[in-house]
């Protein structure tokens, strides 16, 4: 680990101001950042610890939603009775991620900001445009079983590893932030994570020094909520493909469906056309296939991850069959 100085932040605004300094990094749970620092993928010269700031509350919002503080632990969010009752897809997604020990440490804000688990991003001896812009992408022609099939570029085919963010995408969450001047904004989660394009090192729409203070969930939409995660072992593994689904249906007809996918791209993937194909459609193989076609529009494999295309289709079929069974 490279040497760094350590300071504890007094307020979110002060932390944001401190984070503007070159080499400064915010630390909260630290489960991803410290892992990367040990490997010198991350080499901050200063750590600003926000872990003790009072951003660890889950509150009701006036519109009937929830406001989740940035420092709420993944375990506490998953176990919150209101989340279990009204946002089952979020509770399930959280419980599908990492291990209990990590969930006890990892925070809501940190989960959104975790980095990809691309092998080549982690291996500092290999080219990686995300870690070292301009150095190339070793995954394109390398081992790319876990990599993106949608929204990737010639510069980067990494995926975003979060389960939580996929559920939040289906729920249309908003990410609240503050900067060093105390200015706040609410970023729709659809716009929070960015696709790699020519700048895979820029992963979110956060400006330098801007930090997450909370995530707000609108009131839950009607329908059955499911989180389906397909992975190489039954527990404690990242998603190859995951589906967060909120489907409202009755007597074999879908009223509305929200579908967000993990493991496919550098952001939770959601396609409006796929949901339109299902709205007011008969809950049958034909409409499920039409939805899958829309989700996979433009998808391509890179060799090791070709299986993700049929796997996504099958996972979607399975989830839609489950959620429309009345």
């Amino acid at each position: 680990m490279k040497a760094f100085s350590y300071q504890r932040a007094d307020s979110a605004t002060q932390a944001a101001a401190a984070a503007l300094k070159p080499g400064a990094k915010i630390i909260a749970g630290g489960t991803n950042l410290l892992d990367l620092m040990k490997l010198q993928v991350e080499t901050p010269s200063q750590l600003v610890d926000i872990g003790r700031l009072p951003l660890d509350k889950i509150e009701e919002t006036p519109d009937g939603g929830l406001r989740v503080g940035a420092l709420v632990r993944n375990s506490d969010l998953a176990a919150d009775p209101r989340v279990r009752q009204r946002y089952g897809v979020l509770s399930r997604a959280l419980l599908a991620g990492a291990s209990a020990q990590l969930r006890n440490k990892a925070t809501t804000g940190g989960n959104l900001l975790q980095r990809t688990r691309c092998y080549y991003f982690y291996d500092v001896t290999k080219p990686c445009n995300k870690r070292n812009p301009g150095s190339g992408c070793a995954a394109l022609a390398g081992f790319n079983r876990i990599h993106a099939v949608l929204g990737a570029s010639n510069e980067c085919i990494a995926t975003h590893p979060s389960d939580m963010a996929v559920a939040m995408r289906a729920l249309d969450a908003k990410v609240e932030t503050v900067d060093g001047k105390g200015e706040t904004q609410a970023i729709p989660i659809a716009e929070f994570h960015r696709l790699p394009g020519k700048t895979p090192e820029i992963e979110t729409s956060l400006k330098p020094g801007e930090i997450i203070t909370a995530v707000t969930l609108p009131p839950p939409p009607p329908g059955v909520q499911v989180y389906r995660k397909v992975r190489d072992r039954a527990s404690y593994a990242f998603a190859l493909v995951s589906v967060a689904a909120i489907v409202d249906s009755a007597r074999g007809r879908v009223r509305s469906a929200r579908l967000a996918f993990g493991g496919l791209a550098q952001k939770p993937w959601r396609v409006a056309q796929a949901e339109e194909k299902l709205a007011n459609a008969s809950a049958d193989t034909k409409s499920f296939n039409a939805a899958a076609d829309a989700v996979l529009d433009g998808a391509r494999g890179y060799g090791g991850n070709d299986f993700k295309l049929p796997l996504t289709r099958r996972a979607l079929h399975s989830v839609l069959a489950e959620t429309t069974r009345t």
């Binding site: 680990m1 630390i27 375990s75």
Partner: protein, 217 residues
């Protein structure tokens, strides 16, 4: 770890138990051990940080390189070597300790982040010769072979049973709104998936935990 280091650790652990202070340790451990962990940085060390940790009911004041993980602070600075370093990347669970009663991977957190907090390690579980019910259950059910993962398994299981008592669901819990999911074998396996056992003593670990789950802790 070579033989010399092993011997030294044994001596200093005894010293700590006898004196209850770390002052002697800090003067007897070689610099390499003080610098704890793969620092692999040739630059000048950062300014040291002071941290107060309540470990197993006893207060310890340490002056540390801020890079020191909680695991290295326990093992290399306090000679509490019960918590093991397996992968050092939060993947194996051998380093699991309880912070304010919650299980975490001590390898993926810095000691300075835990100033003033209360930490329980495997060394803090037994009361004299009376084993903690989970320790006794692991012995009774032979929940190990080599034993390297065992302290992490036991600390993790204690945290898991506490979580379960507060109604924490798991990925395999069928009904999320259930206030107290039953601890079936499938539930125990899912909830303990952050602890790897390379000897694959899993059936006996599950049996030990299942027994202890019925015992007040």
């Amino acid at each position: 770890m070579d033989e010399n280091e092993f011997t030294m650790t044994e001596i200093t652990r005894r010293t700590v138990i006898e004196t209850g202070t770390t002052a002697l340790l800090l003067t007897t451990l070689p610099r390499g051990a003080l610098a704890a962990g793969p620092l692999d940085d040739t630059g000048p060390p950062p300014p040291p940080a002071t941290v107060e940790l309540q470990i197993n009911g006893r207060s310890h004041s340490l002056t540390l390189d801020p890079r020191t993980t909680l695991l290295d602070a326990l093992r290399e600075h306090l000679a509490l070597t019960g918590s093991k370093k397996g992968c050092d990347h939060g993947q194996c669970g051998a380093c699991t300790v309880l912070i304010e009663g919650h299980r975490i991977n001590s390898c993926l957190t810095l000691a300075v982040m835990h100033d003033g907090q209360s930490i329980t390690t495997i060394e803090g579980l037994a009361e004299g010769d009376n084993l903690h019910p989970l320790q006794a259950a692991f012995v009774e059910h032979d929940g190990f072979q080599c034993g390297y993962c065992t302290s992490g398994q036991i600390c993790s299981a204690i945290g898991m049973l506490a979580e379960s008592r507060t109604g924490m669901p798991s990925y395999v819990t069928e009904d999320l709104t259930q206030s107290q999911p039953e601890l079936t074998d499938a539930e125990i396996r899912e909830r303990m998936s952050g602890n790897i056992c390379r000897c694959a003593a899993y059936p006996n670990i599950v049996a030990a935990i299942k027994q202890a789950a019925g015992t007040p802790t």
